[in-house]
């Protein structure tokens, strides 16, 4: 059994090498919300400041960040469904071609699929099975939908139920079934484990991994570092609208530590690793930052950190960190 697994692993790595072209590349993405303040004044909210991401076929990338740091808007910005009063800037490439507005409209829902956070995102009046079926390209039969249902661990009887008769956990499974039924190559899951118990979380993570095994790319947006550690090949840590670190899981598995002080603080705050709380919260979106976004809370911050903004440095293969004193 073990040998088979090892072999599979090797084959998979070979496949990975062959298909090593990028699925999605995001560079310098920013999202600014413009709104009216008192009177005629306008306020700018810098929700996403400088976001970078790379994802290959068959890879799971987790975006981990604080609650309220604009993670959900990130998914919206990539899909182009961000609020109307916001401005998105930066470069997004999908399969090595620039993602223009026109192309995005064509790809969204077909090639790129969002698994929403809200469980009320399904049509409340349509049978669940039918909703899954609408995503199938060819005129497939009911039978294949039921096969997919079996794959994700849903009772075939659920096919004829309406969403209000399903529990939250079941609806999440329906979302996964939809992703499997579609031919989407990139799946963005927004907080897929929120409010589930341990057993359901395990199941959910297993299913996301299954999607990646199908040679699709999975982006998992979450606040739960533990869940991210379990399945992600790469973890991108998101703080105050910026990517502060991208780390390969292999590095962590080898006993390596996170490189950015914020990621380390996040790690140390887990109940099983010390439960240490650093004080004060992240800078608000209205502030314009001159220095490092984490400088105020960082134990190692120097004058330089307050004056100058650190750039995202590449270290190793697809790993990045935004800190002058990374890894020290």
């Amino acid at each position: 059994m073990h040998i088979v697994y090892e072999l599979n692993h090797e084959i998979q790595e070979e496949i990975e090498k062959i298909q090593n072209h990028l699925l999605l590349e995001v560079k310098n993405l920013s999202l600014t919300i413009e709104r009216f303040g008192k009177g005629w004044t306008r306020e700018h909210l810098y929700v996403i400041r400088d976001f970078h991401l790379k994802i290959h076929h068959g890879e799971v990338v987790a975006i981990v960040g604080a609650s309220g740091s604009g993670k959900s808007l990130l998914a919206d910005a990539i899909l182009g469904i961000h609020p109307k009063n916001s401005i998105v800037d930066g470069m997004i490439k999908y399969e090595n071609k620039l993602l223009t507005e026109k192309r995005r409209k064509r790809l969204r829902g077909n090639d790129i699929l969002l698994i929403p956070q809200m469980t009320n995102a399904l049509d409340p009046l349509m049978k669940v099975g039918k909703q899954v079926k609408t995503l199938m390209k060819q005129k497939s039969y009911q039978k294949s939908v039921k096969q997919i249902f079996q794959k994700v661990g849903l009772d075939p009887a659920v096919y004829d139920q309406i969403p209000s008769a399903c529990s939250g956990g079941m609806i999440r499974k329906v979302f996964i079934a939809m992703a499997l039924a579609s031919e989407a190559k990139l799946i963005i899951a927004d907080e897929p484990t929120n409010g589930l118990d341990d057993e359901s979380i395990e199941e959910m993570l297993f299913q996301l991994k299954m999607l990646a095994k199908d040679n699709r790319g999975v982006i998992m947006i979450t606040h739960d570092l533990e869940a991210a550690m379990k399945i992600a090949d790469k973890i991108a840590v998101f703080y105050a609208g910026e990517t502060v670190e991208v780390v390969d899981k292999k590095h962590l598995k080898k006993g390596g530590k996170f490189r950015h002080p914020y990621s380390r603080a996040l790690w140390n705050a887990l109940p099983q690793n010390g439960f240490i709380a650093i004080d004060s919260s992240q800078p608000s979106a209205t502030e314009k930052l001159t220095g490092c976004s984490f400088a105020k809370q960082c134990p190692k911050a120097t004058k330089k950190c307050n004056m100058e903004k650190p750039l995202l440095k590449e270290i190793g293969h697809d790993e990045m960190v935004r800190c002058f004193y990374a890894g020290m």
């Binding site: 604080a66 309220g68 359901s200 570092l225 705050a269 099983q272 439960f275 709380a277 919260s281």
Partner: protein, 213 residues
Amino acid sequence: MTKWLGASMLECKNIGFYYNRSSWLFRNIHLSIERGEIVGIYGKSGSGKTTLAKIMANYLSPMEGEVLVDGEKSNFSEVYPVQLIWQHPEQAINPKWKLSKIFEEAKELDQEILSILGIKEEWLNRRAHELSGGELQRFCIARAFHPDTRYIIADEITSMFDAITQAQIWHALIWLVKERNIGVLAISHQIPLLERISDRLVDFNQLKAVRTE
């Protein structure tokens, strides 16, 4: 002063509840929390933990059995001594009110709580949608600390938040609770968290299984 003659604990005696007449959600639940003690309770989603929380905080009345606060049955004429903190703060706060009004909702609060919970003065002038969930949750905790509060039920209060926010909130809450000798029932599905914060752990499914027959 009968209040102090009874045992100083929050007791559930023989509690049973159903939403649907045909099947009991749970029956014969016995649970007690002493003052100054933090009890952690865990169980599967959908097993009725939140319902039990609502019963203990007097949002629902049980179909059978009773909840005793320091040996007394509930009295509606005063501030209820058991306060519930919800999982989703944005749903538990009036979106049209400024947060200073939310804070005044529980009268006779002292300013000390603000600093312990890390609430900034400038937040008081804002409305709910301008703050993040973690920040709002601090207000929900603050307003639960009325001087008459003797017990607090914390229903998954940090499961929406990242690890740092979670640790911040619990450190502040534990400090306040120990200082004021308040009993806490902490509900969560994260066992490592409960092991950190609670004096005693209870498995809700076992609690249910013991005497359901």
